[in-house]
C-alpha cells in the first residue's frame, strides 16, 4: 500500500462522511425537538434515492447532458421527502408525542415497513442504476492516483450543509425556537409558540436532509430495497457517538467513523508474524469499536449532554405483578396437556411442528421481557442473542463434530458471550440510547454473520443441523417430531421456571429497584450496572437456548435469524401480551407466532400489512395494551 492509495481511500471516506452526516443530522434534529427517535429515517433516505432516480428519468429528456438536470433532481427529491416527512408527522407522530418512547419506536418502525413496501410497489424489486453526473464524471489525479470527481464534490457538501444549518439555527427566529425547544419544549409552548407547526417543520427539515443524502448517494450506489436498515443503523451509531441532538457532534462522528472504515480498507490484508489479517473485513467491527471506545469515555457521545429522564415504560406502566399471575395448577395442567399432545394430535402432524416454533419464541419473548419489564431496558436487538445461540450450536456441531447434545449445551453460551460483551456497554445507557445501541449491536452481529463465509456460510447460512438420531426417531403413536417436541417443551419449561425464579429472588427485586430509581437503589448498596449486566447475560443465555432449539427444529439457519425484524417481532410479542404479568410474553409469543403462521406471509406486501397493524395498535391504544388491561381491571379511576 502506498501513501497515495491511503490518501485516496481517506478522501473516499470523507465523501461517504458527507451523506452519513446529512442523514444523521436529520435524525438528530428531529430527536432534539420532538424527542422521537425516527426509526423510519433510513427509509426516508431510501425514498430519497428512489425519487432522485425517477426525477432524473423525467428531467433527462428536458435537460439532456447538463449537470443542472442532476442537481434539479437532487433538489426535487429533497423537497418530496421533506413533504413526505411533514405528512408522516401530521398523520402519525403528532398523535404519539406523549406515548412511551417504546411505542414511538414501534410506530416509526411500522412506518419503515410501510415505506419499504411502498418502494417495492412503486419501483419494483430490481436495483436501479443511478446516472453519472455530467461535468463530474471521471477522476482527478491525487498524487498520481485517480479520485472520482463526484466524490470530491461530495466532500464539500457536508461542511457546506453544516454551515448552512448553523446559520439557520443561530440567525433566524425559527432556529432560535428549535434550539429553545431542544432544551425545554414545554416552556417554549408556554411562551406561545405553536408546538405543532414547529414540530412539523422540524420533521420536514430532518426528512429533507435524509432525502438529500439519499439523492446524493444515487451516483455512488444503485437504488435498492436494502438501503433503509443500514442507513438507519449507521445513522444511529453516528448520532450516539456524536451525542444525541448535537449537529457538530454528528459531523465529527460521521468523519471519524468514515475515516476509520476507509483506513481499514486501505490497510488491506496485512501479514503479521505469519498471520494474515484482512482489515477490510473489519469495517463493520470498526464502527462498533469506535462507538464502544467513545461511549466508555463519554457515555453521552462526543458532544452530547445527559438526556432528560426518558418516558420509559417503567414510569408509565405499573410493575408486573407476580402475585397476580395464575397459580401453579393451571400451568401444571397446561404442561401435562402439552406433553400428551403428540399422541392426542397424531392425526394432524403439523400441530407439533408449529408448537415447537411457539415454544422457541415464548422463551425468546420471555428472555426479552426479563430485561425489558423488570429491568426497564428496551432492547431493540434481542435477536442477536437468539442468532448467536443458533450459530454457536451450529458451529460446535459442524466444526468440532461433537454430538448434538454438546451443541445443545454449548450453543446458548453464544448468546451469553454476546450479552456479556454488548450488555457491558448497554447498561451504561438508558432509554433511547440503549435501544439504539442494542440495535446497532445486532446489526453488527448480522453483518459479521453475513460476511464471514468460512465460518457461518454467509448469506446461504448453514444446513444439515438435525437433532441426534434418538431425537429424530419416530415415537410410537405420536406425531413425527414428537421426540424433539418434548425436548423443546422440557427445555423451555425449565428455562421459563428458572427465569421466573430469578425474578422472584432478591436479584429480581434489585433489578426492579434499579429500574424504578437507580439513585435510590445505589444508595442502599445495589450495584445497579452489575445487576443489569447480569440480567443481560441471563436473558442472552435464555435467548441463545431458544435460538439453539429453533435451529435444530429447522435443520438450517441463515442470517435472517439475527435480522432487526426478528428483534421487533420479539418486542411486539411482549407488548401484545402486556408487560404487567409474567405470563404476558408467553401468551403474546403464542398469539403472534400462530397469527403469523396462519397469515402465512403468502402475499408480497406482508411487511406493510404488519406495519399497518402495528400502527393501529400504537395509535388506538397509545398507553399500550397493558393500559387496556389496567382499565379493565380497575374501572373506578375516573
Amino acid at each position: 500500500m502506498t501513501l497515495a492509495s491511503l490518501l485516496v481511500q481517506l478522501l473516499g471516506g470523507l465523501a461517504g462522511a458527507s451523506t452519513l452526516f446529512l442523514t444523521s443530522a436529520g435524525l438528530s434534529l428531529i430527536f432534539g425537538v420532538t424527542r422521537v427517535v425516527n426509526f423510519a429515517h433510513g427509509s426516508l433516505f431510501m425514498v430519497g434515492v428512489y425519487t432522485a432516480w425517477t426525477a432524473g428519468q423525467w428531467l433527462r429528456p428536458i435537460l439532456p447532458g447538463s449537470a443542472g438536470g442532476f442537481w434539479l433532481a437532487v433538489l426535487l427529491s429533497t423537497v418530496v421527502v421533506a413533504a413526505l416527512g411533514a405528512l408522516l408527522e401530521v398523520l402519525i407522530l403528532r398523535r404519539i408525542y406523549r406515548a412511551p418512547e417504546l411505542f414511538q419506536l414501534l410506530a416509526t418502525f411500522a412506518v419503515a415497513l410501510v415505506l419499504r413496501d411502498g418502494c417495492l410497489w412503486l419501483w419494483g424489486p430490481e436495483d436501479l442504476l443511478g446516472p453519472r453526473v455530467p461535468g463530474l464524471t471521471g477522476a482527478i489525479p491525487v498524487l498520481g492516483m485517480p479520485f472520482p470527481r463526484y466524490d470530491a464534490a461530495l466532500i464539500a457538501i457536508g461542511p457546506l450543509v453544516l454551515g448552512l444549518l448553523h446559520l439557520v439555527l443561530t440567525r433566524t427566529r425559527f432556529g432560535i425556537l428549535v434550539r429553545a425547544a431542544t432544551q425545554d419544549r414545554e416552556m417554549v409552548s408556554a411562551l406561545g409558540v405553536a408546538e405543532s407547526r414547529l414540530f412539523t417543520s422540524v420533521f420536514a427539515i430532518g426528512a429533507g436532509l435524509a432525502g438529500l443524502a439519499g439523492a446524493l448517494q444515487l451516483p455512488r450506489e444503485p437504488a435498492n430495497l436494502g438501503l433503509d436498515l443500514p442507513a438507519i443503523s449507521d445513522a444511529f451509531v453516528v448520532v450516539v457517538v456524536g451525542g444525541l441532538g448535537s449537529l457538530p457532534g454528528a459531523f465529527l462522528a460521521a468523519l471519524l467513523i468514515s475515516l476509520v472504515k476507509a483506513a481499514c480498507i486501505a490497510l488491506g490484508t496485512v501479514e503479521l508474524g505469519g498471520f494474515s489479517f484482512a482489515f477490510p473485513r473489519l469495517t463493520l467491527v470498526a464502527e462498533f469499536l469506535v462507538m464502544a471506545i467513545v461511549l466508555v469515555m463519554r457515555p453521552y457521545g462526543l458532544m452530547g449532554r445527559a438526556a432528560a429522564a426518558p418516558r420509559s415504560l417503567a414510569t408509565t406502566l405499573p410493575a408486573e405483578n407476580a402475585a397476580g399471575a395464575p397459580g401453579r395448577w393451571p400451568w401444571g395442567l397446561l404442561v401435562v396437556g402439552l406433553i400428551l399432545l403428540p399422541w392426542l394430535a397424531a392425526g394432524s402432524p403439523y400441530t407439533t411442528v408449529v408448537l415447537v416454533d411457539v415454544f422457541c419464541f415464548s422463551l425468546f419473548a420471555m428472555s426479552l421481557f426479563f430485561i425489558m419489564g423488570p429491568g426497564g431496558m428496551h432492547s431493540f436487538g434481542h435477536a442477536a442473542y437468539f442468532g448467536l445461540g443458533a450459530y454457536g450450536a451450529a458451529i460446535v456441531l459442524k466444526a468440532s463434530g461433537w454430538p448434538m447434545l454438546w451443541a445443545l449445551l454449548l450453543g446458548p453460551l453464544g448468546g451469553f458471550a454476546g450479552a456479556l460483551i454488548f450488555g457491558w456497554f448497554s447498561v451504561r445507557l438508558s432509554g433511547v440510547y440503549l435501544a439504539m445501541l442494542t440495535l446497532a449491536f445486532s446489526q453488527i452481529v448480522w453483518s459479521i454473520i453475513y460476511q464471514w463465509d468460512d465460518l457461518t456460510g454467509g448469506s446461504n447460512g448453514l444446513t444439515g443441523l438435525w437433532p441426534a438420531p434418538w431425537l429424530s426417531a419416530q415415537v410410537p403413536g405420536a406425531t413425527a417430531n414428537a421426540a424433539y417436541y418434548l425436548l423443546t417443551l422440557i427445555c423451555v419449561a425449565i428455562a421459563v421456571l428458572v427465569l421466573r425464579r430469578v425474578l422472584d429472588a432478591p436479584f429480581g427485586l434489585a433489578l426492579r429497584a434499579g429500574r424504578d430509581s437507580p439513585q435510590r437503589a445505589e444508595s442502599i448498596g445495589i450495584n445497579v450496572h452489575a445487576v443489569q449486566w447480569a440480567a443481560f447475560c441471563v436473558a442472552g443465555t435464555a435467548a441463545g437456548l431458544a435460538g439453539v432449539l429453533y435451529a435444530f427444529s429447522k435443520g438450517s439457519i441463515s442470517p435472517d435469524l439475527v435480522h432487526v425484524g426478528r428483534s421487533i417481532d420479539g418486542l411486539v410479542m411482549v407488548l401484545l401480551g402486556g408487560v404487567e404479568a409474567l405470563a404476558g410474553p408467553l401468551i403474546g409469543a403464542a398469539a403472534f407466532t400462530l397469527l403469523q403462521d396462519t397469515a402465512g406471509r403468502s402475499f408480497d406486501y406482508w411487511r406493510a400489512a404488519t406495519g399497518v397493524v402495528m400502527l393501529l395498535i400504537v395509535l388506538v391504544f397509545p398507553q399500550g395494551l397493558a393500559g387496556l388491561f389496567r382499565m379493565r381491571r380497575r374501572p373506578s379511576t375516573t
Binding site: L177, R179, A180, Q183, D184, G192, A194
Partner: protein, 245 residues
C-alpha cells in the same frame, strides 16, 4: 365562600371555578375557586405542597388531567394547549425559571416574542431593558452563565415579550438574594402600574403583603381563605393556622 368577598361590579379578567387537577392518579387540587380582577395582584399562599404551583400549571394548560372551568375574559381556556393559552394573553413565569441556558439574553427574549393583542400593554426589548437595566448590559450573555437573580429577571422579561394581560408568577422571591427580592417586589408593582393583572404564588408573607391586593390561602389542595390582604393581616389566627406564622 370566595365569591362573597369579591368586588361585585368588576368582571374578573381570570375566573377559575371548581378546578380539580391530578398528577397521574393522585388528585392534587380539589374544587379551587379563584378570581383575579383587572389590574389586581393576588397572592396564592400556603405551605409547601399545598398546591400553589399546581394551580398555576393547571391554569396554564401544563397538566394532563384537569377539570373545572378556567375563563380568561369570559372565554374558557381549560383543555386548550399551552401555546394557545399563552397567545390568549396569559404569561407564565415558572418557579424553577427554566430559561434556555444555551441561548443568549436576546435569544431568550426572541423565543418569548409574540404579536400584541389589542388591549394588552406593548413590550419591546428596549422597554423590557428599562424595567431590568442590568439585563440590557448583558444582551449576548448565555442564560447558563447568569446569576440566579439575573435568570429570574430574564424569565419575567421573556414572558413580558409575549405582551400578556395576566401574569402567573410562581414563587418569584424563592432562592434569590434579598436585594433581588426587593427588586422583584418593585417590579410587580411596576407591572401593576402598567395595567397588568398578576397572580403570584408566594410563601414569603412579607413579600406577598407588600405587593398583593388580595390573598388566597391553599391547604391540601383546597382554598381555605380568600380575602383582602388587609383582612388577612388583621386576623393573625388565619396566618397561624395555615401559614405557620
Amino acid at each position: 365562600m370566595s365569591t362573597a368577598s369579591l368586588p361585585a361590579a368588576a368582571s374578573p379578567i381570570l375566573a377559575v371555578s371548581r378546578l380539580c387537577a391530578w398528577y397521574g392518579r393522585a388528585q392534587i387540587l380539589f374544587d379551587i375557586d379563584l378570581t383575579l380582577a383587572r389590574g389586581e395582584v393576588v397572592a396564592l399562599m400556603g405551605r409547601n405542597g399545598a398546591g400553589k404551583s399546581t394551580t398555576l400549571k393547571a391554569i396554564m394548560g401544563l397538566l394532563d388531567r384537569v377539570q373545572g372551568s378556567i375563563r380568561l375574559e369570559g372565554a374558557d381556556i381549560r383543555g386548550k394547549p399551552a401555546w394557545h393559552i399563552a397567545r390568549a394573553g396569559l404569561g407564565y413565569v415558572p418557579e424553577d425559571r427554566r430559561i434556555f441556558t444555551e441561548l443568549t439574553v436576546m435569544e431568550n427574549l426572541a423565543v418569548g416574542r409574540q404579536a400584541r393583542r389589542s388591549d394588552a400593554p406593548l413590550w419591546t426589548v428596549d422597554k423590557v431593558f428599562e424595567l431590568f437595566p442590568n439585563l440590557g448590559r448583558m444582551r449576548n450573555r448565555r442564560g447558563g452563565e447568569m446569576s440566579g437573580g439575573e435568570q429570574q429577571m430574564l424569565t419575567v422579561a421573556r414572558t413580558l415579550m409575549g405582551n400578556p394581560r395576566v401574569i402567573l408568577l410562581d414563587e418569584p422571591s424563592e432562592g434569590v438574594a434579598p436585594l433581588i427580592v426587593e427588586q422583584m417586589a418593585a417590579m410587580i408593582l411596576d407591572l401593576k402600574h402598567e395595567g397588568l393583572s398578576v397572580l403570584l404564588s408566594e410563601q414569603n408573607p412579607a413579600f406577598a403583603g407588600a405587593v398583593s391586593d388580595r390573598a388566597c390561602i391553599l391547604e391540601k389542595g383546597q382554598v381555605q381563605f380568600d380575602g383582602s390582604m388587609r383582612s388577612l393581616i388583621d386576623s393573625p389566627e388565619i396566618g397561624r393556622a395555615f401559614l405557620g406564622l
